[in-house]
Symmetry: C2
Subunit: 198 residues, 2 copies
């Protein structure tokens, strides 16, 4: 976008907004003008961003984003300590918690193996995962169904199984509300493979 | 969205982001997690928003957003002082400047007449517009082609014409790259009405 006509502080705001994922330069311009018209919203956004950076840290135990140590999930007494769910990112914990279906604890891997990007096992929170296994009956791998996610799941499985822990992963299949017509072949093949008797 | 699982500073950031136009709660969550993973981008956004609010004001002459008084357009010596273009919002100036086709000065109305929202002529920068007419040959009304925009244009026209100023508005017609099939009847009717001989 052409920002030459914008005064410098406005151009700077447009550029800061355009760095956000999914926000193109045109949307960034629209948001910047909105913020100038709504100063209170702009100052609220600024203070919220600063406060989040200042107060949110990673949980020392699981790696979740938290404002207390350990995080509220890790310090909850009524969860099942025999179940440990491995996720890629802290936001995945929020997605799983919203289902209300998982009663165990979490472990944030901090990404997936990606040799092309130079991300090997030492760059992920694997050592801390292995230190958490005592008393864990089952590790649920809730990694994204991508090539890297699958490869990481295989790698973790090969590390975990010899230690006597059961390892599972989330089911693949048709998304609820989805349509066979729009599902890709691999998803349909996995859904067939994992079919359940009624 | 369910933010109960988020620590308070993160929930506050999600809510501040969700106030932006076109950003729903789900996108706000995604952006908030992005900002936590990219602290530098978060702090940059915070400081840019604060700086913009602090340094950007409305130009005393035209109402454009600016960091100097008067704004860079109003202080440009090589523009045509006989042409004055009236726009609703400062961002409209940027849209027009990008065309490179307008050589006059601008005047920001700050909105359009909207009796239902209690916005009458006294809420718009009309008095300051009337004070700027000396030496102006033509006022171009570049208001949005909405019902309120058209009504405001008529009102302004009735004020300006008796003062001996020519008044024009932007042409209506098919957008360039548009398709007759997808144009509404009113647009096509206006395009016919405004047809040009080749």
């Amino acid at each position: 976008m052409n920002v030459f006509a914008y005064p410098e502080p406005l151009a700077e705001l447009v550029m800061a907004l355009a760095r956000l994922p999914g926000i193109g330069p045109k949307t960034a311009g629209r948001l910047a003008f909105y913020l100038l018209r709504h100063e209170e919203a702009a100052l609220k956004l600024a203070s919220a961003a600063e406060r989040a950076v200042r107060e949110i840290t990673e949980c020392e135990i699981c790696g979740n984003y938290t404002d207390v140590q350990p995080c509220r999930v890790c310090s909850a007494p009524n969860r099942d300590a025999a179940l440990l769910c491995v996720v890629e990112q802290p936001r995945d914990i929020a997605s799983l918690e919203k289902t209300g279906e998982f009663s165990g604890y979490y472990h944030v891997l901090g990404g997936v193996l990606s040799p092309l990007d130079g991300i090997g096992p030492d760059r992920l929170n694997i050592a801390s995962l292995l230190r958490r296994l005592s008393g864990v009956r089952e590790v649920v791998l809730a990694l994204n169904p991508t090539v890297e996610g699958e490869a990481t799941a295989s790698y973790l499985s090969s590390l975990l199984k010899p230690r006597g822990t059961a390892v599972s992963r989330l089911a693949h299949g048709l998304p609820v509300g989805g349509d066979l017509e729009y599902a890709d072949e691999v998803t349909i093949a996995r859904a067939l493979e994992g079919r359940r008797r009624l």
